[in-house]
Amino acid sequence: MAESKVASSFNGVVGSFRYLDSLLAAIEQLRQAGYRELQALSPVPHHAIEEAIEKPPSPVRYFTLAGCLLGAVTGLTLTIATSLYYPLITGGKPIVSIPPFLVIVFELTILLGGLLTLGGMLFNARLPKVNIGPAYNPRFSEDQFGLWVRCEQKDHETVVTMLRNAGAEEIVPAGQG
């Protein structure tokens, strides 16, 4: 394969797997051998991959919470402050009428919560990405699994052997996973 053309910006290798269990085996063996910086590429999310890689839970939930709180505060401020700013009694109702304002508060809670969830996902997943890297195989969005392993140039051979033993079919050096 392209193993001979090791790029100068070498920082790891990517192996392609046809089977999910081969990928899981590779992840486990590499982790046992001390390679902690792994990145799996898969056509579908799978909890077995997540468990094998063991990453902390996604912090997107804090973005959602922050967005919802921000939305609620914005809604309350907008409705209460503007009503107090120009206190015009309509229909004999109090200037600050909380029940109708809650509709606005609710909608803004959802709106900002949703937008910050999107922002949190993009920020944490480092998207959008302009370059998808030469090691990306189009079949990773179809039916193949990939595993990017960060390693030194000197460990290159060891990692390639381990990937191959686990069942990788194609192994290429990677600039960026």
Binding site: Y19, D21, A25, V44, H47, E107, G114, M121, R139, F140
Partner: protein
């Protein structure tokens, strides 16, 4: 090959067998990409028909803008008439899409996977259609930005106590969140399209896919975001039609001023939306030969949901009648008898028949598993639900408290053309959607399939 991980491995097959069977991951990609091939004459025939109808609607709108609102049939006291009827109808259509994409997702109803994408697209386009109507309905349609909450030159802000302003917030939030949810779900699928496209198409898909690679980091944040968006969209969808119903219920008009309006409208919205989903899915499945993905079981499940919403709607009709009588409120009862026996008796009885009685046929398994019956009943429900909004709005306004302000509404060609044009506008977007985007979620269908395993593939 040493792989000692098998003991600790979680069961990879989902608890319920997938409704899509006998397909591999690669098959799913191929089958969905196949739907994006250059379409045949049927597609262009429909597109021309839709474009012509839309042109008629645009022409009618132009006439209304140029010569004034008198071109439509709107006369005092019927200032809401057909435009708000159609607005409420389209907002309602959107609700089933969110039910299928968000609520069923939270309930882990796995059967939604192969139909949710088209249902969600329907939501977006229905809200886009509905959003036109407040503008069409404005006398001075060049001032729609007055809807945006900002102060006038005396620093007077819009009345946040007004249900019409709640509506602005609800609809714009609904559109934004639905669009975000739709797009987030599409990103990995667009990446799959990017990976098998060439040339300009590839560059467009690549830009839309945001450089998605399907790394475990991306999936982790994606899944988290997706579940939160679903959780946010769920109360939102309930709130949107409740707010729309409060446009009516917060007024003192007899027949509108009713506490049952919010749940009644939400159930009606989902009722009409599910019917629209069936109306769209049956031809879609037929034309693209997607029977392996959109199975009879999917349609049957939708039909069962329609039984539920149909019963709620029927219950709401019964409660309205009962309250009109039991309240001993003269205007209320008069309006009710007017509704049942007056000028709009035919739409009223169509509404009762099509929305609450015809769907009961779905109790018969032979009917809910037969495609022609499903399509026929779904179309009847669509008609019935449009009539429901028409009856609520027009009879409510036709028969308010003072007899001197009574007045019926008769649509003119402008109202009718604009309403037909709105259907064309909706179908135009839907046709563009099925031409350029995957109608079935590649990722979610694959998630339901058993992943390729070395150990279990031995027998094949």
């Amino acid at each position: 090959m040493s792989s000692g991980h098998v003991e600790t491995q979680q069961p990879v097959h989902p608890a319920h067998p997938s409704m899509v069977t006998g397909r591999t991951f690669a098959d799913v990609n191929r089958d969905v990409v196949r739907t994006l091939q250059f379409p045949g004459n049927l597609y262009f025939g429909w597109m021309s028909f839709v474009a012509l109808t839309l042109a008629g609607g645009i022409f009618a709108w132009f006439m209304q803008i140029y010569y004034g609102m008198g071109m439509s049939g709107k006369r005092n006291p019927q200032m809401w008439a057909m435009y708000i009827t159609t607005f409420v109808f389209w907002i309602g259509i959107g609700h089933a899409g969110t039910l299928i994409s968000a609520i069923l997702y939270l309930f882990r109803a796995k059967w939604r996977t192969s139909i949710y994408r088209s249902a969600e697209a329907m939501t977006i386009f229905a809200v886009m259609t509905a959003g036109l109507f407040p503008m069409i309905h404005l006398g001075r349609m060049w001032l729609p930005y007055w809807l945006i909450p900002y102060p006038n030159q005396r620093y007077l802000w819009p009345a946040f106590r007004s249900p019409l302003l709640w509506d602005v917030f609800a609809i714009s939030t609904y559109f934004t969140i639905s669009a975000v949810f739709f797009y987030v779900g599409l990103v990995p699928d667009i990446a799959a399209l990017r990976d098998c496209a060439t040339g300009l198409k590839r560059r467009i898909y690549a830009a839309l896919a945001l450089g998605w690679q399907g790394t475990d980091r991306q999936w982790r944040h994606y899944k988290a975001a997706y579940v939160f968006l679903a959780a946010l969209a769920t109360p939102l969808v309930i709130s949107v039609h409740s707010v729309v119903s409060w446009d009516f219920a917060q007024s003192v008009v007899a027949g509108w001023h009713s506490t049952i309006f919010a749940p009644y409208f939400v159930a009606g919205a989902i009722h009409s939306g599910l019917a629209m989903v069936i109306t769209l899915l049956i031809p879609l499945r037929r034309i693209y030969r997607l029977d392996a993905y959109i199975t009879q079981q999917h349609l049957e499940n939708l039909a069962k949901l329609i039984i539920l919403t149909g019963l709620i709607v029927g219950y709401a009709y019964a409660v309205e009648t009962y309250i009109a009588w039991y309240s001993n409120n003269v205007p209320e009862w008069q309006r009710f008898t007017y509704q049942v026996t007056g000028e709009y008796a035919i739409p009223f009885w169509i509404m009762i028949l099509f929305n609450s009685l015809v769907p009961l046929l779905f109790f018969v398994k032979r009917i809910r598993t037969s495609t022609p019956w499903l399509l026929a009943i779904a179309i009847l429900i669509n008609i019935g639900m449009w009539m429901e909004r028409f009856v609520i709005i027009v009879t409510g306004l036709a028969h308010e408290y003072d007899p001197y302000s009574w007045g019926p509404y008769y649509p003119r060609w402008v109202d009718i053309s604009i309403t037909l044009g709105s259907f064309a506008w909706f179908f135009l977007w839907f046709l563009l959607f099925i031409r350029f985007l995957p109608v079935i979620s590649i990722v979610e269908v694959k998630e339901e399939l058993p992943p390729p395993m070395r150990r279990q593939n031995g027998g094949e």
